[in-house]
């Protein structure tokens, strides 16, 4: 069991990991070795003290070196859900379950608007998780909106269970060719149905299915942490970065505006210190 699990490798997550490591806690940092694509694409950052006129790429490389020098490793797994128990948290990452005494959520904000009808039908013919709900559609026809890195693999998984998989790619990567996977290069526009969703409408067609799997890289905070209290699209936090769930903290863009690198780094530091204090009180 880790002392602190940190989700996200933007400035908030990295800063939290650095402070937690300095305070000698056992940590696991989930994210990507390239850190944050959003940060890497930033043209110029003018307000990060000590790094005047730095590009996102340069700042990301500096942060990477900082982690390396401190011996902090990045676990390249996508955390799909954080489950809250009385005495611990369990993070589900792919097929693995990892336990931690405290959690810091620094996963950034979800980009891209939901498809019309998507949220209305979630849990009623719309699913965000192929490995969770796939077996409910054994022998049936499903659609996959593939907007995440592992969407092609998840579509392949579904093709082993379902009779037919209609795959709507949002990126370049496609699932391996299979007799029952049909790639349709159209843009999903709306999800329709009555009691449950049964139709996916695109810019040029209409498809009847039993379930529509919408697979994105980032899930909304409410889906990521069942039971978390939100403030609009953000996780509700106080100045100590505490959420409504004791032992779970949030920082960076996911904790609200302004979306600034230096604010994210500062909040990450606060979140880590709050987690350290929480651990001290529990002992």
């Amino acid at each position: 069991m880790y002392d602190i699990a940190i989700v996200g490798t933007g400035p908030a997550g990295i800063s939290a990991a650095i402070t937690a490591k300095i305070r000698n806690k056992s940590i696991i940092l989930f994210g990507s070795r390239t850190l944050s694509d959003k940060m890497r694409k930033a043209h110029l950052i003018e307000n990060y003290p000590g790094f005047y006129h730095v590009t996102g790429e340069q700042l990301a490389d500096s942060l990477s070196r900082h982690l390396e020098q401190m011996g902090i490793e990045i676990t390249e797994k996508r955390v799909g859900a954080v489950y809250t128990f009385d005495d611990r948290f369990s993070l589900s990452a792919g097929q693995d379950i990892i336990d931690a005494k405290t959690v810091i959520i620094a996963g950034g904000i979800v980009n891209g608007r939901p498809i019309k009808g998507e949220e209305e039908f979630l849990g009623r013919g719309v699913s965000y998780c192929a490995t969770c709900d796939g077996f409910l559609y054994k022998g049936k026809k499903v659609a996959v909106v593939g907007a995440s890195e592992d969407a092609p693999a998840e579509a392949e998984f579904l093709s082993e269970i379902c009779s037919e998989v209609l795959y709507f790619p949002a990126g370049e990567k496609l699932p391996k060719e299979a007799a029952n996977i049909k790639v349709i290069k159209e843009k999903p526009a709306e999800i329709k149905g009555s009691m449950k969703a049964d139709t996916l409408i695109t810019d040029s067609g209409e498809y009847k299915t039993d379930c529509i799997f919408v697979l994105r890289d980032a899930v909304s905070p409410g889906t990521l942490v069942p039971g978390i209290e939100l403030d609009g699209p953000h996780i509700k936090v106080n100045l100590q970065m505490e959420t409504n769930l004791p032992g779970l903290f949030a920082c960076g863009d996911i904790a609200g505006t302004p979306y600034q690198y230096i604010k994210a780094a500062g909040q990450g530091n606060t979140a880590a210190l709050s987690a350290v204090r929480y651990l001290g009180k529990k002992q």
């Binding site: 859900a81 969770c132 077996f135 409910l136 069942p226 039971g227």
Partner: protein, 103 residues
Amino acid sequence: MVKVIRRNEFEDVKKAGVAVVDFSATWCNPCRMLAPVMEELSDEYAGAVEFYNCDVDENGDLASEYGITSIPAIIIFKEGKATAKTVGFQPKANMKSFIDANK
């Protein structure tokens, strides 16, 4: 204790004053996470509320009768009638509030 429903056998649920039925499956991660929470709650509510687990693979008829499209789905039955439903894992305190508000 959480009782297991087999072969679509739902008579006990219908007879119970208040019953909480957890529709789930062995292959579903959130369901596996929720199971110990329901087990603890069943002890806390012992004598007042009956708790059941209904595997949707084993009890396909019940799953379609109660319109289960996503799991875990938790349905509260009062005198045999489904009165409230919630979907997905929830921390114990939240699940407790859901049960208290609907029992």
